[in-house]
């Protein structure tokens, strides 16, 4: 199958909005917030210029943006929105409703630290506060991945075996605002890949249904279990859609990406755009003779337990780098998840956690190298802490 694509340099936010245009989104309700703004601004222009046939609904808050998205998805429209940080937090209560109603909304979250102190810069604090909303959640590393996942997300979400809203997480500024060379597919190819949305249920005066009804105590548990099963079983559809995309574009995605893991005794694990920085650190450490590899967690929900266990096999030390804190808790979110995933195994690597890149603090390859050296030293003498605040003064 011939794929027509052009390789162009553009800002990642613009590429995401073009992906949403190519996906033929029909309803977009959004409120601008840094650093998501360029995505929805460009979509607004595309709609205003007649280049995208969609309802662009300007709302007075993110709470309304998500409420509106629930409404348009319930009416059977392919629905998209995007937000960041405080905006995501303001959507909080509606996020659970969107997923419980099994509405295949796709949302980009340009990850940004939560206040306070007020910070517009990147970390994963915003999405980690929404960990349990029951949405499919991906993390992307570069512009091409952001473009690809923004289209694939619709296909997975709308599959009648899935029917779940989906968040594509991309790091604010350090990914959303950079200009990268990206392969932009043509409309015909995307149309072939992504057929029009067929709603499972929809609001229709000729065939009335009730959405958002209450559940008595005798049924609430069964609804939650049905939601959980849908989310865990979406894994198979995600893998099938990634496979199809790989056959189409040559770009293959896995729930846990590996970089130089062959023979690695020490593994770093990270999510998001710092993966490319960590690759440089791994290259440099390998050149020094250290058997280090890198795991990049692409799929956060449903959590890829089997893929993670397989990917870390053979390592003695797994170093989890978190970009969000869990104040007063046992561990930051990714570390807690990874430890839980590995705990039942008879043999497992030692798992140490590091907080890096909070509130936009720059993380360069040297920082990862410091983390690896520190973790090795701690591992040898016995860890002094549950997890470490990398680079924190005092």
């Amino acid at each position: 199958m011939a794929v027509k694509a052009s390789r162009v340099g553009m800002e990642v936010s613009i590429a995401v909005s073009i992906a949403v245009q190519l996906a033929r989104a029909e309803a977009i309700a959004a409120y601008p917030i840094t650093p998501q703004t360029h995505i929805v601004e460009h979509l607004s222009s595309l709609v205003a210029n007649g280049e995208l046939d969609a309802e662009f609904i300007t709302v007075e808050s993110e709470h309304s943006a998500m409420s509106c998205s629930v409404g348009s998805a319930a009416a059977g429209a392919r629905t998209y929105t995007a937000t960041s940080s405080q905006g995501l937090a303001l959507m909080h209560e509606i996020l659970f409703i969107a997923s419980a109603m099994r509405l295949p909304i796709v949302m980009t979250v340009a990850n940004r630290a939560l206040s306070g102190p007020l910070s517009i810069w990147n970390d994963h604090g915003d999405i980690m506060a929404e960990r349990d909303i029951g949405w499919i959640q991906y993390f992307v590393e570069n512009g091409q991945e952001a473009f690809d996942h923004s289209i694939m997300a619709f296909k997975v979400a709308e599959d009648h075996r899935v029917l779940l809203p989906t968040i594509v997480n991309l790091d604010g500024f350090i990914l959303s605002h950079v200009v990268e060379a990206q392969e932009i597919l043509d409309q015909e190819t995307v149309d072939r890949f992504l057929p029009p949305l067929v709603p499972y249920h929809r609001l229709d005066p000729d065939k009335p249904v009730t959405m958002g009804a209450f559940a008595m105590p005798e049924l609430y548990t069964e609804f939650k279990l049905a939601h959980e099963m849908a989310l865990t079983r979406s894994f198979e559809v995600i893998e099938a859609v990634w496979q199809e995309w790989g056959d189409l574009t040559g770009r293959r995605y896995r729930p846990v990406e590996r970089y130089r893991t062959d023979g690695a005794r020490v593994l770093l694990l990270i999510m998001g755009s710092l993966g490319e920085v960590a690759e440089v650190a791994v290259d440099e450490l390998r050149a020094e003779g250290l058997p280090v590899g890198l795991l990049k967690l692409r799929l956060w929900r449903p959590f890829p337990f089997a893929a993670l266990r397989e990917a870390m096999a053979g390592a003695d030390l797994l170093i989890v780098c978190d970009r969000a804190v869990s104040l007063g808790g046992a561990a930051p979110p990714v570390l807690a998840e990874v430890r839980s995933a590995l705990f039942p195994l008879a043999t497992r690597p030692q798992v140490l956690g590091y907080l890096v890149g909070l509130g936009g603090r720059d993380v360069q390859p040297g920082a990862f190298k410091d983390v690896v050296r520190h973790a090795q030293s701690e591992s040898q003498k016995g860890p002094s802490q549950e997890f470490y605040w990398a680079g924190a003064r005092g």
Binding site: A100, M101, R102, L103, L163, Y200, H201, P208, V209, T210, M211, G212, A213, A215, M216, E218, L219, E222, F223, L225, A226, M229, A230
Partner: protein, 96 residues
């Protein structure tokens, strides 16, 4: 629905909690909650229908002879008694 709703398994509940059949609220007799209910004194009732109009829950039905009475969905809020033009409605405690 062949199975009683409170025995459904997670595989059997409708996706998204959607109720595919309209009018199912009818089966749920919300009047079971009330602690008071309205009683009409037909000697003073002028059949104006204000009670029927102001009822927020469609809990009042018109009888064939033009008078009004509560139905199974009256929650006993008492708005009808408050608004009745002639004061012919009194709120009476439910009997146990």
């Amino acid at each position: 629905m062949s199975k009683p709703w409170d025995q459904l398994t997670w595989q059997e509940v409708e996706i998204g909690g959607v109720l595919t059949e309209p009018g199912t609220a009818r089966a749920y007799r919300t009047g079971d909650w009330r602690s008071l209910h309205p009683v009409w004194d037909q000697r003073r009732c002028i059949k104006c229908g204000v009670c029927w109009t102001v009822c927020p829950e469609a809990g009042i039905s018109e009888l064939p002879d033009g008078y009004f009475d509560m139905n199974d969905y009256c929650k006993g809020c008492g708005i009808c008694a408050k608004e009745c033009v002639t004061g012919c409605i009194s709120m009476v405690p439910e009997e146990m």
